[in-house]
C-alpha cells in the first residue's frame, strides 16, 4: 500500500515536472477548410423535402428546428409550412437530418449525381452500399418527442406487496393465522395428530425454543440485573469494612 502511494506520488511529481502546455506553439486545431470549397460556376443543386410532426402545429416547433446536411456542412431552415430546401449543394452523397430539440426524426442519405439526379435511401453505416429507397422529395415524419429522461423508481404499495420477499413472509403468516380456525383444535384426535407432526418437525425436544429463550431473556433481564446490582453493593460494603 505504501509502495503504491509512493509510486503514484512520484508519478505525479514527474508528471508535474514535465509540464505539458499545448499553448502557443503554432498548432491551432481550428476549422479545417472543407474540400468542397465554393466553385464559382460549379453545379450546385437544391435538396427538397418536408418534415411533419403529427399532432403538433408547425409554428410550435419550426423556430427551433433546422436541417443539417453532413454535420453542419450545409444548413437549411424550415419554412412556415414544414417544408425545407437546402440550396447550393454540390453532387455527392450526404446524410440529411432534421434536428429539433423537441422531436425525433430519422436521418436519410441522399445521393446526388453529377447531373443532378436525386435518390434518397435509408442510412446504413455498416453496409454503406445497401439501398433501401425512400421517397424524394424527402418526406420526414417525426416518431415523437425525444426521451431524454429516465423514469424515477417510485415507491408504491403494490410494488411493496408484490415483492417476492414480502410474499414469502405474508403467506406463512396467513397460514398460521387461518389454519387453526379452519381446523377444529378441540377435536382430541386432531390434537394428537398435530402434536405428532410437531414432534416430527422438532427432532430434538431437548433443544430450547428460540422464542421462549428470547422472551425469558427480555422479561427476566430486569430483575436479574437488579439483583446483580444489589449483590455487588452487598459485596462491596464488607470490602470497605474490611479495610
Amino acid at each position: 500500500m505504501l509502495l503504491h502511494g509512493r509510486l503514484s506520488e512520484l508519478c505525479i511529481f514527474l508528471q508535474a515536472m514535465f509540464v505539458f502546455a499545448c499553448c502557443f506553439s503554432d498548432i491551432e486545431s481550428g476549422p479545417i477548410a472543407t474540400s468542397g470549397s465554393v466553385q464559382p460556376n460549379g453545379d450546385r443543386f437544391k435538396l427538397e423535402g418536408r418534415a411533419i410532426v403529427p399532432g403538433v402545429k408547425t409554428q410550435d416547433w419550426i423556430s427551433s428546428a433546422r436541417v443539417t446536411v453532413e454535420g453542419e456542412e450545409y444548413i437549411g431552415f424550415m419554412r412556415t409550412d414544414g417544408s425545407f430546401v437546402v440550396n447550393d449543394v454540390p453532387s455527392g452523397s450526404y446524410v440529411v437530418e432534421v434536428i429539433s430539440p423537441g422531436y425525433k426524426f430519422e436521418a436519410v442519405r441522399v445521393d446526388i449525381t453529377s447531373k443532378g439526379k436525386m435518390r434518397a435511401r435509408l442510412v446504413n453505416f455498416i453496409k454503406t452500399s445497401e439501398v433501401i429507397r425512400q421517397p424524394y422529395p424527402l418526406q420526414l415524419r417525426s416518431s415523437g418527442p425525444h426521451t431524454y429522461f429516465m423514469k424515477r423508481e417510485t415507491w408504491g404499495w403494490t410494488d411493496f406487496l408484490m415483492n417476492p420477499m414480502v410474499l414469502m413472509m405474508v403467506l406463512p403468516l396467513l397460514i398460521i393465522v387461518l389454519l387453526p380456525k379452519v381446523v377444529n383444535t378441540n377435536d382430541p384426535e386432531m390434537r394428537k395428530e398435530m402434536e405428532q407432526s410437531m414432534n416430527m418437525l422438532n427432532p430434538n425436544p431437548e433443544l430450547p425454543d428460540v422464542s421462549e429463550f428470547m422472551t425469558k431473556l427480555f422479561s427476566g433481564s430486569k430483575s436479574s440485573s437488579n439483583k446483580a446490582v444489589g449483590g455487588s453493593k452487598a459485596s462491596g460494603r464488607p470490602a470497605v469494612k474490611r479495610r
Binding site: L3, R6, F13, A21, S29, I75, F77, D88, T147, Y148
Partner: protein, 969 residues
Amino acid sequence: MAKLTSLFVILLSFFCISEAVFEDQVGKFDWRQQYVGKTLFAHFESNTQSSKKMFVATDKNIFASFNSRTGDLLWRHVDKTGPEGSIDILLLHGQDALMVVGDGRLLRSWDTNIGGLNWEAVLDTGSFQAACFVAIQDTVKLVAVLKKAAISLHYLSNGHQKWVENLPDSDAVQYQAVYSGGEEEVYVLGVVPNSHLTIIAYSLEDGEIIKQRSVEASWLSSIESSCVVVGQGVLMCVDPATLALYTLPIQAEETPEFSQILLQSLDLEVFPGFQPVLVSSQPHPARSPLSEFFLQLGPDHHVLLQLNADGYTIAPLRDFQPAFLVSFATTGKKTVAAVMTPKNETVSCPLGGVSPCSGWCLALWCVVSPCGVSPCGVSPPQLYVHAFLKKDDSVGYRVLVQTQDHALTFIQQPGRVVWTREEALADVVTMEMVDLPLTGTQAELEGEFGKKADGLFPMVLKRLSSQVTLLQAWLAHLWKLFYEARKPRSQVKNEVTIETLSRDEFNLQKMMVMVTASGKLFGIDSKSGSILWKHYLENVQPNAAFKLIVQRTTAHFPHPPQCTLLIKDKDTGLATLHVFNPIFGRKSHIALPALPRPILQSLLLPVIDQDYAKVLLLVDDQYKVTAFPSTKNVLQQLQEMASSIFFYLIRSDQGNLSGFRLRKDLSTERIWEVVLPTEVQKIVAVKGKRPNEHVHSQGRVMGDRSVLYKYLNPNLLAVVTESTDTHPERAFVGVFLVDGVTGRIIHEAVQRKARGPVHFVHSENWVVYEYWNTKSRRNEFSVLELFEGTELYNSTVFSSLDRPHLPQVLQQTYIFPSPITTMEATLTEKGITSRHLLVGLPSGAILSLPKMFLDPRRPEVVTEHSREENLIPYAPEMPIRTEWFINYNQTVARVKGIYTAPSGLESTCLVVAYGLDIYQTRVYPSKQFDVLKDDYDYVLISSVLFALFFATMISKRLAQVKLLNRAWR
C-alpha cells in the same frame, strides 16, 4: 441463443449503469445561457408601445428575436459559420424580415411572428453591394438587390425574380448604392474613383434603362462612405479634403454637376484628421428621405442640418457636442432623432424641438449614455432607436446600444437600463474553474489543524471554542431558514454577491473564469450562472491567442488566489501578461517581467515561491527562459531542479517536434527532434495529459485473476497528423505517441482513407480519436490503450529515461453515427469513478458516452473470462441514446469546448460546455455512490422505523399479557 441472451443481459446491465437525467432534476444543478454575438443589424417590431419583439442579425451569422422587455431570446436561427453564412443586410417590413446571406448568395425572407422561413431564393453569383425595398404606388412589393455587376428585383411575397439586368461597364464602374423614392424607377449609383459618378435609372416594369448619365466628381472615391440621399432625391456627399458638402439631384437631368457648399460657410469645423460622416433616414420606402440629416464632424461632435426646399442650400438646425452617436427612428408620421451624450454633461438638449411640420415631424431626444465617458471608456459603436407612439400621441423611445466590449444594453426613456446582455460570452476562448475561498470561520477552523501543537490545554480550549463558533453559525443558519420560511416565496431571493461567496460543503460551487475573444474577462458563479465580475482588456488585438493559468489556488489563505492570462498577438508573437484575482476580478499589482521577444511556449512548474505561487516559465524565440515570478528563491529552486525540467516545441509549418532541457543558467539545450515531412503530412494537434488527473488503479484485473498493468507515462504526447493529399483514396490520419522527455516514438497508428477534422482525448493510458472515413463516408471512433503487460518494469517510480520495454498497444475502432464537434473526458478528484467521454454533437446535444464502450478488449466472442471482466461484446456501431444527453433539450449551439473539473465529491464531475451558449451541469459517471441521492425517501425510511418501533412496543406488551395469563392458569 445463449449468446444472444447473455448479450441482452449485459446490455441491460449497462443500461442500468449509464446515468441519465431525471425529469424532476431539470434546472436543479444545471443552467444554460444563450447568446447571439455582436449585433450588426437590429430592428424593432411595429411601432406601438406594447410591441415587445426586436430582431438582430449578428457577426456570428445568427438571426434572432428578443423580447425587448426582458432581453430573453424568443427564437434564434444559427447558420453556417464563416463567410458562407454571413449576413450582409437585414431589412424589416411589417411581418417580414429580409436577409441577404453569404455575400449575395441567398435571399431569405422570414416570418418574424413564428420564426419560420417564408422563402429562400438563390441569387446570381457576384459580391453583394446594397439592397433596398422598392414600392409601387405606396405599397412595398419588391426588393432590389445590387450586386457588383447586376441588379435584380424580387417579389416580397414569394421571392420570385421579377427581372435581372447586367450593369453596363461594371469592370470600370463600382456600383455601390441603390435608391428608390417611390417613383416608377430605381436608381443605381456607381463611381469610378476620383473620376466621375454614374447614375442609371431602371424601369421597375421590365428593367429597361430609362436614363443613364455620368457626372464629373474627381474628389469622390466611395459612395458608401461619404454619400447619402436626403430630401427629394438629392445626393449629399462630404469631401474631407476640400471640407465641403456636394449636392446633386438624382432625378433631375438638367443639372450636369455637383453644387458645392463649403463647411466654412456654415460655420462648421471638422476635427483635424477626422473623416466626416453623414447620417440620413428614409422612413418609408415609398417616400423620399427626410431633408434633415446629421453630419459628424469629430469623434464627439454632431450637427443636425436641413436641406432647404430648393435643394441647394443648407440650414444648420442644432449643434451637439459632446455627442457620441446619433440615430433616426420613425413611428407613424413622426421621426425621432436620438443623440447619445455622456453622463453628467450638461448639453442643451430640449425635449421635443420640432421642426416645421410638412407631413413629417422631427423631434429631438437626448439619450444619456449608460456609462460616462471616462469610467467605462468604451465608445459605443452602434445605436438603434425604437420609437413608438404613446397613447396620447406623443413619441416615446427605447434605445438599444451596442458597445465595443460586445455588451448590448437596452435603455428606457428616462435613461434607465432595462437589461444588458453580455454578448462577448458568445465567443469564449478558454476558461478555468477556481475554488471559492473559505469564509472567515471556516478558515479559522482549518488553521487549527495546520499549526504546530502548543500544549494540550490550549488545544482543547481552541477545539471547544471552534465548536462553539460552529454551533453559533448553525443556529444562525437555522434562524435564517425559519425567518425566510415565513416570507412569501417570491420575496426570498438568494442573491449571490462576491461578498457572500464561500465554498460549500462538497466544493460543488466554483468560480468560472471565462476569457472571451473580445478580450473581456468574466467571473461567473457556477451554481447560478450569474456574472459576478467582468473586466474588459481594452488593448487586446482581435486575433490574439489566450492562455489562462491558475498560479495560486484559494488554498493558501491569507494569500489571495492568482490567475495569469497570457495574451499573445498572433502576428508578431509578442505576449503580455495580465495578472488578476479570479474571485474578485481585480488586477493584481505585481511586477511583470519584460517580454521583448516573441513567446513560443509557456509552462507551469510545480515549483512554488515563498508566496505559494506556482512558477510560470516563458520560452522566447531564442530559447531563453523567463520565469514569473522571478524572485531569488525561485531562481535558486530552478537551478537545483534544472536538470529534470524538460519541455517540447512544435512547429507545424516545418513539421518539427523538438524537446529541450533546461540548463542551470536558464538557457536551454535541444535534446531530441522528430521531423514529420510537411510534404506528406501536417501536424494538426498535440495533446499531453492533464496535470491534475489522477489514476487510481495501476492495472486491470483480468478474468483469470492476473493483472494487466497500465502504461502510465506522464510524459506521453499524442500527436495527430493529417495528410496533405486530400484525395479520398490517398488521404490518411496519423496518430503518434511520443515520449516528451526522450523523443522516443512509443507507437504509431495510421488510419488510411481517412481525413479530419480529428477530435481526440488523451488520458490515463488511452487515446480516443475520431475521424471521417472517406471510403465508407462515416465517422469512426478509434481507441488506443497502452499496457505494460502482466508485470511492471519498475513499480516504484516512472522514468522516461529508464523504460526498455515498449508497451503493448491494443486498438479497436467503432462506427459513430453522427459527426462530432468536440470531445472531452470526465475528471474526478481521485480517479476512482469510471470515466465517461463527453461528446459535443452538431445538434447541440452533449453525449455522455461510457468509456466502457470504447475498450479495445471488447471481445468478438463472449467467453467466461470476458463475462467476468464485464466486457461488452464487440459491436461495430456505437449507440447514441437520447437518455445519455446530459443537457436534455437545452442544446448548446456550436459547442466549441467542454471543460471538466473535479468537485469535492469523488462521484461528481463539473461540466461546462461553451460555444455560442454556455451550459453548466454535474455528471455522475458511476452514479452518486458517496452521497444520498436527491430522491432519497426520508419519509418512507422514517415511517418504517417508527412503525417497527411501535410494533415492538405493542408486541412486548402483548407478550407480557400473555405471560401473565399463562401464569394465572
